[in-house]
Amino acid sequence: MDSLVALNGIGVSLGGKQILRALDVKLQPGEILGVSGPNGSGKTTLVRLLATLLRPDKGSGVVLEAELGSNDIYRARRSIGLIGHTPALIDELSLRENLIHFARLGGPDAEQVDQVLSVVGLEDAGGRLTSASSFGMKRRIEVAYLLMTRPSLVLLDEATSGLDSAAQGLVAALLERTINLGGGALMVSHDADSLESVCGRLLRIHDGRLESTQ
């Protein structure tokens, strides 16, 4: 695979409004790319585009060898890991039950759940209802799932906001492992400082366009 991600002149509009314009960006294996920008600048839209959850209305793009807008994206999705700015867990299940549920649907071995809970430091808290768990605990479960699925492309949308240093270290370990396995990652945040220590390259998004910060 030459590039994990290659976007050429990509434009995305939502609700009649142009959110992303003429984006050109590449992400190579082994690279962690950081994208900062103010609220409403299109960061989440960029993440969802790379997750193949949105179709571009201009330009062309390839993510994990799948052309955006083609049916190949369904294959590519299995190798993409996403941690969005809001946890996607089911509130009425426990943390452990959530992990088992997504593991059963997605394919990784559900038997691994207890081992992974221990790795992320939730072996004693797995039985807690998700609705009664803190934001940090929910994030650890999302990281745990990505540890199980080993995605080639990890997308993080404000994933470390509001996390303590231990949890941030866990996210960093996830990224390091992804790189070591030949994958890559994109992190977006409104806080450029938080990206500097982790990302090899930094871009800034403004009014739907990407600019280099270096």
Binding site: I80, F102, R104
Partner: protein, 224 residues
């Protein structure tokens, strides 16, 4: 993971969540029984009229309150969970089938309780064998209503007026189910063949199943 194992996993979790939320059995079902009580109170103590309208009221309330079961909270995904399900590789058709399975279980339990309550409260004069035919009819009626409600729930997902809008969409589309179900008991009462009405219900259920599975992915993609 296979299509059916995904569908069964969705059904399993849906029922587990519903057991903890308790909306269907603790709120919708008692509310429907209260509605059963409202009709006769409004009619006054006209016992023969009450007995006559019993089955009709049952089917009508079955649609109106059954809709609330099809639209239960456990069947409503947040946008972030939809994204996660999409990335996991959950087949939207499998999710649809899973929700119909779990919804069908809840719907059947609801209809059985409502039917028993109707029998007690309205004392309808039903022909022999009516209870078994009614159960079969309720099963077909319930499956169709669940299929319809699950699709309507998906189409209206995320909208603030989801509950009323989905009900508005489903109620007229449920007419073949109401007609098939009520006419089955009517035919039994007149001692004519119930087969055409049972076939109507079966055909409606099958058509909705095919439509639901075929439209699941386009509906899912339209959410983006």
């Amino acid at each position: 993971m296979t299509f059916w194992s995904q569908a069964l996993e969705i059904a399993r979790v849906d029922l587990a969540v519903e057991r903890r939320l308790g909306d269907s059995l603790r709120i919708v079902t008692p509310f429907a029984i209260v509605a059963l009580i409202v009709f006769p109170l409004a009619l006054g103590a006209q016992l023969s009229l009450i007995a006559e309208i019993g089955p009709a009221v049952f089917w009508a309330l079955g649609v109106l309150f059954g809709m609330q079961i099809a639209l239960r909270r456990s069947a409503n995904d947040t946008p972030h969970r939809r994204d996660l399900y999409a990335l996991i590789g959950l087949d939207p058709a499998a999710k649809y089938v899973g929700r119909v399975i779990s919804g069908g279980v809840l719907m059947l339990a609801f209809l059985i309780v409502l039917y028993v309550a109707m029998l007690v409260l309205y004392s309808p004069d039903l022909p022999g064998g009516a209870t078994w035919i009614a159960m079969l009819t309720a099963l077909l009626f319930g499956v169709g209503l669940t299929e319809l409600g699950t699709m309507a729930g998906e189409v209206t997902s995320g909208l603030s007026n989801r509950s009323s809008l989905a009900s508005l969409i489903v109620a007229p589309l449920a007419l073949p189910l109401v007609i098939g179900a009520s006419q089955t008991l009517e035919a039994l009462d007149r001692d004519v063949s119930i087969l055409p009405w049972i076939l109507l219900l079966l055909a409606t259920d099958l058509a909705l199943a095919v439509a639901g599975v075929a439209l699941a992915r386009p509906i899912e993609e339209s959410m983006r």
